[in-house]
């Protein structure tokens, strides 16, 4: 139990998808101009992550890994389909995003219009595929996968809302013209990354 809690804290703070691995930077930089939209995108990412990573875990353990197909027939034990992982993982994610898009369009039309193109682009948000790939690489079991995906999602949510807060404030400061927008956002992310590095001192 404590192990899972450690993993959760680690996924949020120590190995934050944004500040430690820089995954999902495109939407992170593009949608963080207002807290409200950042909040919506953050929630959508958490949802898609929690939905797809465990699903991909099942795909991996029961369809792709060496010996995974024994539940069909014992003679398939030596079949190793892991090279198909990318294609299947991304299909799962694309499907889940389609679902989220339909749900948001139906129930939260205001958020739907404010997210615009970035909603379907969650499909190509690398933090989501990254979580699935980390799950595969680190050989997590199911409980770990579930906790890890939730933690990573919260980590992304936290990061994007924090940056949006800072950027809203930034409107009142005097930034040199060539540095405005993308440039200063990069510097702020770097500084936030340095701040988050301090969590790496925590031994879990």
């Amino acid at each position: 139990m404590q192990h899972l809690l450690n993993l959760f804290i680690k996924a949020i703070f120590v190995e934050n998808v944004i500040f430690a691995f820089f995954l999902g930077m495109c939407s992170f930089l593009a949608v963080s101009k207002k807290i409200k939209t950042a909040f919506g995108l953050g929630l959508a990412v958490v949802f898609v992550m929690v939905l797809t990573t465990p699903l991909n875990y099942f795909i991996l353990t029961y369809m792709l890994e060496e010996g995974a197909l024994t539940w069909i027939h014992p003679s398939l034990a030596s079949v190793d389909l892991t090279f198909l992982a990318f294609i299947l993982f991304i299909s799962t994610i694309a499907g889940a995003v389609q679902l989220v898009e339909m749900v948001i369009e139906k129930f939260l039309p205001a958020l739907y219009t404010s997210l615009g193109i970035f909603l379907p682009l969650i499909t190509v948000n690398c933090s989501i595929l990254g979580t699935s790939l980390f799950m595969q690489e680190r050989e997590y079991n199911f409980a770990e996968t579930a906790v890890f995906s939730f933690g990573s999602g919260i980590g992304f949510f936290l990061a994007i809302v924090l940056l949006a807060g800072i950027r809203e404030r930034l409107r009142y400061s005097n930034v040199p013209a060539p540095l405005q927008g993308l440039g200063i956002a990069m510097f702020i992310t770097a500084l936030m990354g340095l701040a988050f590095l301090s969590f790496s001192g925590i031994k879990l």
């Binding site: 820089f22 993982f89 991304i90 299909s91 948000n125 690398c126 790939l133 540095l179």
Partner: protein, 227 residues
């Protein structure tokens, strides 16, 4: 093609066959290096630019991989662009990109295993590299195969340029070497030179790209309000 024998040949003949490296095509190839650089101007594909640039070698290989995938996914999508229904185009694009990335991944595992270990999940993440999707959406869906291919190469090069530049800085100041060759001599260390620990840490890449953007935009006024 033989030169037209009739002197007043209709100009349509000329338009039909554009030269392989016409001015327009060359521009498609060259623009992404600076004016429309995928990372610093289009704000695409930043994630991997930051994550794999601690050393030059993985950065180079990553850049080659991305260039291969952008070029060929652009080419393939452009070839079949008329038969893709718009509603499912994203899935079609993703499947083609995933297929190409799988090829790259298997090649890396077969020939440069140590680098493929170092790149780890980032090879798979080429699929979600926004440069590829961005170029497919913005260029290949509407253009002929050859310009699309060149656009892919150009954007791959522009991406690789930033990647290698950042990696050179980070490896030189962070480890005193480039491509594994020691460049900072031992006597410098004996006299108190210390490798810059910040450069090895991920935020260093953001600082370098941030500085580059600053420099690029103060050099070109028209880029200031791009994003």
């Amino acid at each position: 093609m033989a030169a037209p024998t009739i002197t007043d040949a209709p100009p349509i003949v000329k338009q039909k066959k554009e030269a392989l490296f016409s001015k327009k095509n060359l521009q498609t190839l060259r623009d992404p290096l600076d004016d429309t650089n995928p990372i610093t101007v289009q704000v695409l594909g930043i994630c991997s630019a930051l994550a794999v640039t601690v050393q030059v070698k993985p950065a180079l290989i990553m850049a080659l991989g991305v260039m291969f995938v952008t070029a060929f996914s652009n080419l393939i999508i452009s070839l079949i662009r008329k038969s893709i229904p718009t509603r499912i185009r994203i899935i079609v694009q993703l499947i083609i990109v995933a297929m190409l990335v799988t090829i790259v991944d298997q090649l890396l595992k077969a020939y440069v295993y140590d680098v493929s270990k170092k790149l780890a999940v980032f090879v798979g993440l080429i699929i979600t590299n926004c440069i590829i999707m961005g170029r497919l959406e913005a260029f290949a869906l509407a253009q002929k195969p050859w310009p699309s291919f060149l656009d892919g190469i150009g954007n791959g090069l522009g991406y690789g340029l930033i990647l290698v530049m950042v990696a050179v800085f980070r490896e030189f100041f962070g480890a005193g070497s480039i491509l594994g060759y020691k460049l900072v001599p031992q006597w410098a260390y004996d006299h108190g030179y210390v490798n810059n620990g910040l450069m090895v840490l991920p935020p260093a890449a953001l600082f370098i790209i941030g500085l580059y953007i600053w420099w690029q935009r103060s050099r070109k006024e028209e880029l200031v309000n791009v994003s």
